[in-house]
């Protein structure tokens, strides 16, 4: 069999092939993405990084099924992504929690859509409340929570819905530094245990180096993948270590050279 001879390359869970996205802005076409190719393997933690306007959020929203592609294809396990679905859980920067539901009800929203029986629903939400450390706040409404707690709820809510791919759009961008640090650590712990595939959009180099297996550097005008960079560091990573600093510097240089290049070109 040919499998025995050829090196086995696992099929990617997410396959973005020649994707372009053109928005219409008052009749003027805006190229948000042009010919983007990206394969993501199951269990990978990938950061999309780049200056604003580079299309990283658009690419994530295409994976989420919130935007359609203009040309090319976006596939999850070989089936085209056409609409949002439970297997791709999106974590928004502005949380997107249902303000009229309690913390527990927000976490149970997805499973309830599937008609899970009450007893199982309770067990499931108990588990995820505990996982994100919000058991004491189960009866609170989102308006009564801090930003960090809201983001914990929105992570728990997609986990409770059995997502396979976690799509995160600058999830910690609106949080204070201490809360952000705690949530980064918690997310890594959750990722380690669940082996979820995570696509994480950020514009913070340090965050990308801390979290990612691979960092995909994107540039603007039109948005495209500039570099696909594998972080050569062991986990757990220490922000203060010289190796960490070196990688961060490399990535920063890469980003800023593109920004300068981009600025000159215009």
């Amino acid at each position: 069999m040919s499998d025995l001879i050829k090196p086995r390359v696992p099929a990617p869970i997410l396959d973005i092939a020649n994707v372009s996205k053109v928005f219409d802005l008052n009749g003027r076409p805006i190229h948000a993405l042009r010919d983007v190719n990206l394969q993501i393997q199951k269990g990978e933690f990938v950061c999309l990084i780049g200056a604003s306007g580079c299309g990283k959020s658009t690419l994530l929203r295409i994976m989420g099924g919130f935007e359609s592609v203009s040309t090319g294809s976006a596939r999850l396990y070989h089936s085209a992504i056409t609409e949002p679905g439970p297997e791709r859980g999106m974590v928004f920067q502005d949380y997107g929690l249902f303000p009229w539901l309690t913390v527990r009800q927000n976490i149970g929203f997805g499973p309830r859509q599937r008609g899970l029986p009450q007893a199982q629903l309770k067990e499931l939400t108990d588990h995820y409340l505990n996982m994100v450390g919000l058991t004491r706040f189960e009866a609170h409404y989102p308006s009564q929570l801090s930003g960090g707690m809201k983001q914990r709820v929105s992570i728990a809510r997609v986990l409770a819905n059995d997502c396979e791919v976690l799509l995160m759009d600058e999830p910690f961008g609106a949080l204070d530094a201490l809360t952000r640090e705690a949530l980064q650590k918690e997310l890594l712990d959750i990722w380690k245990k669940t082996r979820l595939t995570v696509i994480f959009v950020t514009h913070a180099v340090e965050e990308a180096v801390l979290m990612a297996d691979r960092v995909v550097v994107m540039t603007a005008g039109p948005g495209r993948v500039e570099r696909d960079y594998t972080i050569p560091l062991e986990r757990p990573r220490r922000i203060t270590s010289p190796e960490f600093n070196q990688v961060r510097q490399e990535l920063t240089d890469m980003l800023s050279s593109h920004v300068v290049h981009h600025a000159r070109a215009h």
């Binding site: 439970p86 791709r88 609170h140 712990d189």
Partner: protein, 293 residues
């Protein structure tokens, strides 16, 4: 999965909980009496002053046209239980009140029943909105009282014309506020619900309706205020029983004490129902601190 190596109680978790505890207001025991006085007695001061001013004004001017508060109170008693004047108005309050109440709430409930679903669809469906909204906006500025003559042609002289007026008057604020509520739902919530597997009509029930609830309740409250206003107008022509009819009859007979007694009953009824709607509001919207009244 175990959660032992998770650390939800990292230093930051503590700072997180600090913000949340702000949500529960804490009333200290000290100053409780003053707070109670401010809450329950303060609102009563102005009505009492007005009552006093009314009483003094009647006494000082010596007018025969306006009864004093005492006379009105006596009339109210007679209106409700009889035994003072024993005329046509004595002990008739219950009948008038009940007739008006059933008309007001019947018409109001009907308006809500039609206006809320209609508002939900107008708000959510752009094609339907283009079809219906201009007509609604065209009809809305017409004062509902101007419909009275037509209403009497449609429904005959009698209570049905009054009911129609109330229906129409309550309908517009409810439908317009519901539409507004639906249109201002954060698009993010639809994305979040879709991603979690919520589809089609259940999106209406689970996202659109609760998200628009603050506006819907607001529309109900406005519609309710207009309802009481219109029932009296509607009952003033060609209706035998009802608070509006009683007031109109009393005017013919120069019984100003009955007129004012009727006004008091309407004011109190409207006030009590408005409190009920506010209680409903606070219950339905307990998730939203800015919508607590």
């Amino acid at each position: 999965m175990s959660t032992s190596d998770l650390n939800p109680h990292a230093p930051v978790a503590a700072s997180d909980t600090g913000a949340a505890s702000l949500a529960a207001p804490v009333f200290p025991a000290r100053g409780g009496t003053r707070r109670w006085l401010a809450r329950w007695c303060m609102p009563a001061v102005l009505p009492l002053l007005l009552l006093l001013a009314w009483d003094r004004a009647v006494a000082w001017t010596g007018t025969m046209l306006v009864p004093s508060p005492r006379e009105v109170a006596l009339m109210l008693w007679d209106f409700a239980f009889g035994g003072v004047y024993d005329d046509a108005f004595s002990a008739s309050l219950a009948v008038h009140w009940w007739k008006s109440i059933t008309r007001v709430y019947g018409a109001f409930a009907l308006a809500a029943l039609v206006a809320i679903p209609l508002g939900l669809v107008i708000g959510k469906n752009a094609a339907f909105r283009r079809f219906v909204d201009p007509t609604l906006q065209l009809l809305r500025p017409v004062p509902v009282t101007a419909w009275l003559p037509l209403s009497m042609i449609f429904f005959g002289v009698g209570p049905n014309a009054a009911v129609f007026l109330v229906f129409l008057g309550a309908f517009f604020p409810i439908v317009i506020n519901t539409t507004f509520g639906v249109r201002s739902v954060d698009g993010r919530l639809f994305e979040a619900a879709a991603m979690l597997g919520c589809k089609g009509t259940s999106m209406f029930r689970q996202v659109v309706l609760p998200a628009a609830m603050p506006s819907i309740v607001n529309g109900l409250r406005l519609g309710h205020g207009i309802s009481w206003f219109l029932i009296v107008v509607g009952e003033m022509t060609g209706v035998q029983q009802g608070l509006g009819a009683a007031i109109m009859d009393a005017r013919m007979l120069s019984r100003t004490d009955v007129v004012i007694a009727g006004m008091v009953v309407i004011g109190l009824s409207g006030f009590v129902t408005d409190r009920l709607i506010v209680a409903l509001n606070n219950r339905l919207l307990k998730w939203s601190p800015q919508h607590h009244v």
